[in-house]
Symmetry: D2
Subunit: 342 residues, 4 copies
């Protein structure tokens, strides 16, 4: 960490800062130029509160040299982490497609969609039982009942299941879920993250709506520092001023993450734009950018004509996307599990 001192003549404050840093167990290297004074902090700076130092009157600016995340850092773990979910691998050249309905609505619906997406090439089933909704008056999901239907669909199809947790309170009911999802709004629900760090299941950690890549990796670190190393990152769009799309999918985050961390990274093209007709182009774009997988909403209710055109694809549209992806994967050096395809 480098601290640039603004007020070089304030010897008392500089000395005080230096002593405080030494008190944290770090060495300080002073470098005095003609018009500048720089303090270099040597040692493990991951516990140093950068915001506190930045706010000091004598400080011009502070810069971390070492990233503040350790377990998630590729520097200390150069090989890709490969996360196995019921035999389906994420990372290290393996590519997975998670698919399923937005919300779990009934036993029949989730089993039907599960069979359809499996036939089209998905290896893992998704479906929302607890739904984070902006309005308290919107449907909040089937809750525990929804989890049961997902488990029945797993039994029926053999597909592992992935669904979102919204509260520490529900943790016991999730211990049997194959991938526990943390939604964008809970990315910095630190108490939930710490609790999930003690669980022996892969965690799908979505990026917060306005969080930086570093903050996202620090949230992964919360989980990992408690012992659970199985974190899959999921880019799902950030908030910008552009109103035509609900959020702006940040695909350059993918190659950046591939440099910074060894964790697998997948993309959710359904939620980012909120428009089903964007799922195909943005899925291909995500593959091009280097994603290790996709999580796609698929519905299967021909009677509910309303849903046509919503953010969910119909199974036949989904199959087309999977076919396109299969052509692209060799270009980016990835391969998808094929045994599941019917």
């Amino acid at each position: 960490m480098i601290i640039v001192i603004k007020d070089q003549k304030n010897e008392k404050q500089i000395e005080s800062l230096k002593n405080w840093i030494k008190g944290l167990g770090l060495d300080v290297h002073m470098s005095r130029g003609e018009n500048s004074l720089i303090m270099g902090l040597i040692g493990d700076t991951s516990k140093v509160d950068i915001d506190l130092i930045r706010s000091l009157d004598i400080v011009e600016s502070v810069q971390r040299i070492q990233e503040p995340y350790k377990n998630a850092n590729r520097k200390f773990h150069p090989e890709d982490s490969i996360i196995d979910v019921g035999g389906h691998k994420f990372g290290g050249g393996h590519f997975q497609i998670i698919a399923g309905p937005c919300s779990v609505e009934s036993r029949e619906q989730v089993i039907e969609v599960a069979k359809a997406v499996k036939a089209a090439g998905a290896t893992i089933l998704r479906g929302g039982a607890f739904k984070p909704r902006t309005s308290p008056y919107s449907f909040q999901g089937l809750g525990l009942e929804g989890l049961e239907y997902l488990k029945e669909a797993r039994k029926e199809t053999g597909m592992p299941i992935c669904t979102e947790i919204m509260s520490e309170r529900h943790i016991d009911a999730f211990l049997d879920i194959d991938i526990i999802q943390v939604g964008a709004r809970n990315m910095q629900n630190f108490e939930l993250l710490k609790r999930l760090g003690k669980v022996d299941k892969p965690i799908l950690l979505k990026r917060g709506l306005a969080n930086t890549i570093e903050e996202w990796l620090m949230s992964a670190e919360y989980i990992m520092s408690e012992g659970n190393m199985n974190v899959i990152l999921c880019e799902r769009g950030i908030r910008t001023f552009e109103p035509y799309t609900r959020n702006t999918l940040d695909l350059s985050a993918i190659p950046i993450l591939k440099e910074k961390t060894h964790l697998p990274v997948i993309v959710d093209p359904s939620h980012a734009s909120g428009l089903s007709r964007l799922v195909r182009p943005m899925s291909l774009a995500a593959v091009g950018a280097g994603a290790d997988g996709l999580i796609i909403e698929v519905h299967n209710d021909p009677s509910k004509a309303l849903c046509d055109g919503a953010q969910s694809l119909k199974p036949e549209q989904f199959k087309e996307v999977v076919d396109n992806i299969d052509v692209m994967l060799p270009i980016v050096g990835k391969k998808r599990d094929k045994q599941e395809r019917v």
Copy 2:
């Protein structure tokens, strides 16, 4: 709610949408122009999922006419809500200053700061016991022990206390706190909000880092819809691309909120910029914009020279800010409790 139809010739889809809306208990009014078809939804649209409709292929755009929040809406509650905290009132022309240390560090520290801020004019004591930190390696606060020290300071000074809750799990320990704070990162922790809706204590709801005013009011609605009407809103800065300040204080949110809601609105000038030297100008700016109060960090540890210049003011600097505010309040038609001033 108004739905503009893009594809007017798709009679089947339009009919299907119309029937779906009627199934929600709403009336539909169709208005067909030369090049456009508009559906007006009549009735209580607060349960309608606007995102779902927006994502339909036949839909060009959707616009709410009624705000989706009810309990928080000034239309249905034209008078200012006045929230009483131990005799100190927020809203309706009353102005309060909440002050105290960033983190609770020890019994002595919090009592000393409490006395100092009370002497300078603060009416309510703040202090962090559970600290939301980006890094798992940073100090996470004294937790339950910190709550005890705050309660002792309350006993010693008679000041009500305000502190942040981070998990539903801790709710029992907070039932005796005078104002329970929900931090920016938990603004959309919906399970926590619902739980706080059942508590009989005022809730200080901070705005999320990248949340709109409408989403913020919807989070207030989560609390209010469960029965707790005592919500105080707190603007604390939004994330922008400007690096000189940690966040950008959105003061135009104050007069907008004053139109939209009857709830009191206060401002946190300490956290927004992260720079103590901005506390004074931004406090005066907040008063000018129409805030009903301020929450300010004050420290009181002369031995810890490091803290000088951090985001916390020293008591004497804080007193100066209070003195300036007192001159300004009559201009904006507000008054501050004076009996507490020593």
Copy 3:
């Protein structure tokens, strides 16, 4: 256009607004519900100042139904525009790669790079002669001299040239340039746009750093409304709070633009991130998202080791990207001019 009236009882103001709208040559259709009053404006609303209406005290909100752009609107021009640049076509399934050095530095440099990128598959040469720089102390480009070198490279290689204009004052010198580029910072330099609307050359219009898609299309409209229909749009990244990349490439803008407009859309993967190692993944992502072309920085100065790793690729790295793109293009139904490949 739909105007939602807030204050329905203010008959005088409503009547006044109605008359003002009629004075603009539009019809007004009033729709009065139980709690709402809606005015529907019928006719050509493209001249109506939506901001003015939005700012009226009696108005709750305003929504355009018709897009404010006409010439650029796909509704009135359903077929893709195909823009021909010296035999190389943009749009309608044609895919072009523009490549060349960031700045024109010398006659030799630009000719050498031109030959190298032509050999690798580029069909059009780019190079900056006038450079928009944040600092007045940075190198501002060779100016008119740079234009001459570009023309010599064109003569030598037969490649059309593309370069940026920064002032109306230089227009005469640009009349012989094959594609005149308008940079992000000048996207709303309306006087320059109007002037370019009278020129008989294709205009490459880059998106402003914080502009919406609609504003971008309105800038295209400025050029088109003066008669020049040959506008190529170029996404180059928008400003967000993410510091790891210089800007955030907004690839979902591509499929959205393909719906809204008939104009070709290309992507600049070099400037968005500012990192050459992101050019390959983001180029593939852009192709997946449906772009009609790419504009890529390539340098060719083995003696200047400094440049290794900058935002420019070396010719051999560029060739690899082109090879990858060639494999991908059939998936997205596009084809690239091949005759040029050496």
Copy 4:
């Protein structure tokens, strides 16, 4: 400037970078730690292209220590710049109010408003002759004719005039304008800025919609580096995701600017929100934040009832704002010219 090297073993690249830096006339100080290598650049780094260095593969990050602006920098000019406009001073404790109509519509209108705002306390008249409009189909202003009407109003009232320039082409017509305004969309129209640097008139430089404070000061530097030191900065709102207000007024920019630069800073509360009812609270907030003046839209056309409630105030509302400001100014240690008040 400090460069943190990522790849410490790449001696060849490091040597090459070192030599390149020395070639720019700078000294390099190498500081090698256990896990890090830092290069300190000593000398005038204002010409160094930070983006180029940042993009190198061996570079982890770069940090400027010295601000890249010189003429605008308070470090080299500790006293407030005081800019005199016809006897009315900006900066150094002087506070001015610029007021007038949004657009110049006729001779009578501008003279009438001028008299009204002068009577209410404004010292300088504003009015738009050239209007930057998002749509080419919107009214573009009276142009040169509008400038004439402003000059007549100046003659009639003795008030200096302030109006916006949109093109270098119009420069001759602006040489007689007392304050030449550069709008937000032209903040990085570098050719225009350079031209204005050679003019002997104060320049009112508005902040771009998505520009950082540093970029804004660099645009001031463009003007100042050509010799014109009379730059007044004007905060007018930045673009965020909040839809209730057109833009978000960034008032914390005011105290930051007061630290970084000696130039006067004023605020435009009318354009930021686009809502006239926010002008009063945001004007008071701006004064509280430390602004040196305000620029406010006032209209005066009782027959045009439409305008009531638009972003312009009526003269009597404007007078009220001025009265409030006068009570506040002593708190922030500023004074306003009073001799003009009728």
